[in-house]
Amino acid sequence: MERLLSFLYTYRVFFTFFVLELLCFWMIVSNNQYQGEKYFNTSNRLAANLAGFSYNVRSYFNLRTVNEGLAAENAALRDQLEKEKQRLFFLQTGAHDSSALQRYTYIGARVINNSTQWYKNFITINRGATDSIAPGMAVISKDGAVGKVKAVSDHYAVVISLLNIDENVSAVISRTGHFGTAQWDGTDARYISLKYIPRHVKPLVGDTVKTSGYNAIFPEDVMIGIIQEVTLPEQAPFHDIKVALAQDFSTLSYVSIIRSHFRKEKDSVEQLTIGTRK
């Protein structure tokens, strides 16, 4: 026993190092899980305040473009609303249609922390549990899909950016209707790869890629980007497709969080069928 203790004491530096490294790797692994850590990230109030302060300073430099974008979006929305009103005017007497129920609620938020240069990028927004944000909700901007909520505190939330090598989004090529998975390859923040589009499909440069609505996180038809380059390696079962992102992540400043009202219902129905298959 005494020997063991003296052995431990002799190599105490190494053992401390070893134990602390183990702790680090445990944290890394548990943080990689989808709905991970709650306190030790930028949704932490102090960290969020500092990040928000830093972002406030930076945001002055792109106020003009942000305003222009918001004004354009406002105009487009007004336009849409007006069209919808006119359509509704004729439908007012129609029968009750469950598909016309409100499926999604949109909550606006401001980005207070963002990065595009890491392999695993995260975005912090200034809405949290008190604004009924919960992990798993989709985040979009006026130009397209942004990511999904990973962790929330009372007033802030951390979002997994599309620019995260662990993030997969079910996507569809609008022209052909074929499904694939959009995933970032970790190098260039302007492009994302579209995977698992089989050989027989002929995607063209310029085709739009949108979300498919299969995973019930993103609604259907949220813009992801436009196909920039298609290559088909010999023998490969799938195309290599490079998609130019519709949203420029380096200038992201305002986003909307989408709360899907039927997500639970859809998930539980799917769970039922998966259960019977076993």
């Binding site: 890394i28 991970g36 500092l50 830093s54 695993k120």
Partner: protein, 170 residues
């Protein structure tokens, strides 16, 4: 002794604030990061208690991680640097050994010695950081690009700061 402790504590928070408020937003060409905060670990006195060094490095890395949303990654890299530092310093001891209470700075060992000390240590830190973050070697060459360019950026800034304080101390 007490005074230098206070200086180190202030230094800890200074490096931390500069890193998360300023340098976090400063990434050149999307690949060149500046991790000035490592300099805090590297410039602590040679005779710092190794256990204390490990714990301080862990705390520094952990706090940085909170701001980078990368729980554990910076802490792991910092720990590695803090652990290796002792052996590297022992290997490159200048003739006549280290003076009591001296720090491994530019003014202590001269430019050549300082570079020999700094470059491998920064390389270890950056390599650990990016390879852990990408969870393997799948993005090896892109990670190497990030490591080398970040190393140059960080090194330049550390040297600049060293030259600035070097003149003052003489």
């Amino acid at each position: 002794m007490n005074r230098s402790l206070i200086v180190q504590i202030v230094g800890f928070f200074l490096y931390l604030l500069v890193q998360v408020l300023l340098l976090k937003n400063l990434v050149l060409f999307n690949v060149s990061f500046c991790f000035l905060y490592v300099a805090f670990i590297l410039l602590l006195p040679v005779e710092t208690n190794p256990l204390a060094l490990l714990i301080v490095s862990f705390l520094l890395g952990f706090t940085i991680d909170i701001f980078y949303d990368s729980l554990g990654i910076h802490a792991a890299a910092c720990l590695l640097v803090a652990f290796v530092r002792r052996y590297w310093l022992a290997t490159i001891t200048p003739q006549g050994g280290y003076d009591a209470g001296s720090s491994p700075t530019l003014s202590m060992g001269g430019l050549q010695w300082f570079l020999v000390y700094l470059v491998p240590m920064l390389f270890i830190h950056h390599a650990a950081l990016f390879f852990i973050e990408s969870a393997g070697f799948a993005l090896f060459w892109h990670s190497m690009l990030k490591i080398i360019s970040s190393l140059l950026f960080t090194l330049t800034l550390i040297l600049l700061l060293q030259y600035l304080s070097f003149g003052k101390r003489r």
